[in-house]
Symmetry: C2
Subunit: 484 residues, 2 copies
């Protein structure tokens, strides 16, 4: 989480901006982070691309304190940049150095306010770490159906504000689908209590949807009511080699025909990624006969105790082998083996980062367009940077492929010169295929300009109209998502 | 669908308002409904409570025609009231007689533009009837996971605009959860093309959410991209007698433990409702030993071919009988028997309408509060109108009980005098229990004042801010949802 990035951190905890000083005096110094290391950690961007110039970091302990803070900042005309676990990849909580802004960390809003076993739902404050909330609800046999690599550091507020995705979206949807209600401190400091736990509700426009994925530009999410689902009591994990992405798609279709929506995850991994993972993570065990170009890591699960899942999966597996959709592979025989298979996927991420410099995009395309996307982007990258290596892997079940282009050998200069053009080209291909260039990492500051270029005028006007209506003075995370 | 309501329909197809006349001349008379009966059908409200005073009814044939119409109306300052299947219950497409407004029927936007078998998704225009779209996608083995009594007349546009619920929301969510993308004609006549079919997308705020459940107050939905799920290949239907609503809740929990999220519907019916249904629908066959106060109609289904559903349901059923959660009941042995069980539920609706005058509310409460809600509301109704009969039935799985209070014998006058107070009291109880007073029928004009009373100032301000931002001249369905 710390990264080795070069960041600009102001030298002193005392804000030099007179407005911020006044704010600190009004509200009390204990609302602000005094410890230099803690402050630096909040201001450091994990990608290293977005050093934050915020002069002060506030850590309120309650919704009431957030409200006081936002109200006082509004009175002084000070901008606020909310921050959760600071695990974002697009500079969503970075503050340009020239702006007298306050970084508002939600990390001390840590209470799990209620677990309703009937709804079932959990109400957790914004600063709660996902893994902690999962642990609390697991004690009652439930889970929040969201699976993320960063669950040990990502906060509920950040997950809501970025509408996080992850590896279980295929079956359960993204964060938006888990949110039943929100509590939000509005830009004028008022608290909107929308913490409902209802499956059906149409009391006016569904306001919570604006704050989900709103990246803190419309208000500060201070708590969320999230739906729970019964924890899986049976899990089957498959590792399968396939001919190509089109075969992987057909395999997904066959598994869903046999097993319905019990298919929870369906990840595609290019051989190259597995090889890089093996190089980077010693002792990694990969079921591999050495001949196939693509792998699928799939999981099938159910909370039901009354269904013989294992037998159904074995039968489905026999069918997909018989049909030639899967060429090789295995079904995990134990929880330990299941973890080993997932370690391969984690190793791909490690191997990718450990290897040659690369550029990544955060795209998704309609499911049926994934094969075309991979063919077209590989060709485009090869055209722009001969000798480069491309890697396609990720959430095939969501059409959400983490595509990256890696520098070839001895190619430092040419790579630096074309990386931006390659990313733009790949994103253009995704858009042309009906896809998105902000799939699950958000817009932040990194994607703001590209987003403005990608959307048509009517949509941009709507986004601006909403922003101006809810935050007329542009004080909530200004510069993220949209430029006014 | 026609009802016997007394409605006020203008005598002539030619609008007397000069602005409307001018509009008709500009756009061509063939865009407007000339046939008097067809026009009257659009202006008639099925509840009889909301005669529409609109002088003209336009039926554009394409999104481009809707755009022309909205633009021309905007230029003339004419308000527009969009209408789909005209099956609403809250006066959402009624126009006050004094307003020179245009009723815009989407019924000629009838094209199913695409069925994407990979996504899987369907793109259907607003005027398509739900049942027709279901038929089209069923040919490919899919379904839109929404079940409604009005599926033969409700349109896609209306379902989106009211965020319809129904009997399959327990498992699959409400209409909002089915919408992947929308095409909307904005109040200025521009077209927003948001017809995406992506599982993950965060390109700015999720604008479609405002139009879903927006009841046409922010724009005219002209087409929707809806997610599909594989059609059920195995369905098991259960009719069970239970002690009381609390036992029904425990039964739901037990079924979900055994069968996971394969439980698709879970309807609660009070004995009284079944008896009224039997009186109103001759030949209705009800499995009933005559002793129990409440019934549950539940359905468990899967698209999976590889799971032995019948055996799992039988085993679960044995368990709930052993635990005493179900007292009596049966599992449908054939498709014919399954239909018979669902006919009981339909008969309750018929019996309820055929009996003594009643008032109904559209409430939902958090699932665990359903038993308290039923106890409290029955007591409240008895207190306000001694001798009345109450009926609780509906979507227990969503906390969405259709609660009604029926006049006692020889009680016409007292009923008329207290009906409003009873409804208000029941709604107040729902709100106090953390519920909603607009669960699945929308706000329309009927619930507008009650909604304004129910929401706090911050939420009302947000709703007004959104309305003003997107429809600054208040020309889209003015008077529905919120008063500015």
């Amino acid at each position: 989480m710390t990264g080795s990035a070069v960041t600009t951190v102001p030298a002193s905890a005392s804000p030099t901006d007179p407005c911020l000083s006044a704010l600190s005096e009004t509200l009390g110094a204990d609302l602000f982070v005094q410890d230099e290391d803690a402050r630096a950690a909040c201001l450091r961007d994990m990608t290293g691309n977005w050093p934050s110039g915020a002069q002060a970091v506030a850590r309120p302990r309650s919704t009431a304190e957030v409200a006081r803070l936002v109200k006082a900042a509004a009175a002084q005309g000070i901008a606020i940049v909310p921050q959760g676990g600071n695990t974002g990849l697009v500079g969503g909580c970075a503050v340009p150095a020239e702006t007298p802004a306050l970084l508002l960390s939600t990390r001390r809003l840590r209470s799990i306010r209620a677990i309703d076993l009937h709804a079932p739902a959990v109400i957790a404050e914004a600063g709660c770490i996902l893994a902690e909330v999962q642990e609390a609800v697991a004690a009652h046999g439930f889970t929040i159906p969201l699976g993320l690599g960063s669950e040990g550091s990502a906060t509920i507020g950040g997950l809501v504000s970025t509408n996080a995705g992850g590896i279980r979206a295929l079956r359960h949807g993204v964060m938006r689908n888990q949110v039943l209600g929100l509590e939000v401190v509005l830009p004028d400091g008022r608290v909107w209590n929308g913490l409902r736990t209802l499956a059906k509700n149409n009391m006016g426009y569904d306001l919570k949807q604006l704050f989900i994925g709103g990246e803190g530009t419309l208000g500060v999410v201070t708590a969320a009511a999230l739906r729970l689902v019964p924890a899986s009591r049976q899990i089957e994990t498959l590792w399968l080699a396939v001919e190509d992405p089109a075969a992987a798609l057909a395999l997904l279709g066959a598994l869903r025909t046999a097993l319905g929506d019990l298919v929870t995850s369906f990840e595609l991994i290019q051989r190259r990624g597995v090889e890089w993972g093996m190089a980077a993570v010693p002792g990694l065990r990969v079921p591999d006969s050495g001949a196939h170009g693509w792998f699928v890591l799939a999981e099938v699960a159910t909370a039901a105790t009354g269904l013989p899942l294992r037998a159904a999966v074995e039968s489905a597996l026999a069918d997909v082998f018989e049909q030639g959709l899967a060429l090789d592979g295995m079904l995990a025989e134990s929880e330990a083996q299941r973890r080993e298979l997932w370690r391969i996927r984690e190793a791909v991420v490690v191997g990718k980062a450990a290897g040659k410099p690369s550029i990544s995009v955060d795209v998704a395309v309609p499911l049926g367009q994934v094969p075309a996307f991979l063919v077209e982007t590989e060709a485009a990258a090869a055209g722009l940077l001969p000798g480069c290596e491309t890697l396609g892997f990720g959430h095939l079940g969501d059409g959400n492929i983490h595509f990256s282009v890696h520098r070839g050998a001895n190619d430092t200069e040419r790579f630096a010169g074309t990386a931006g053009a390659i990313a733009a080209k790949v994103e253009a291909i995704a858009l042309r295929l009906g896809g998105t260039i902000c799939a699950e990492h958000g817009v932040g500051r990194r994607m703001r300009t590209a987003l403005a270029d990608a959307l048509d005028a009517a949509e941009l006007d709507l986004i601006r109209a909403v922003k101006r209506a809810l935050d007329p003075h542009n004080r909530m995370n200004p510069g993220a998502v949209i430029e006014l």
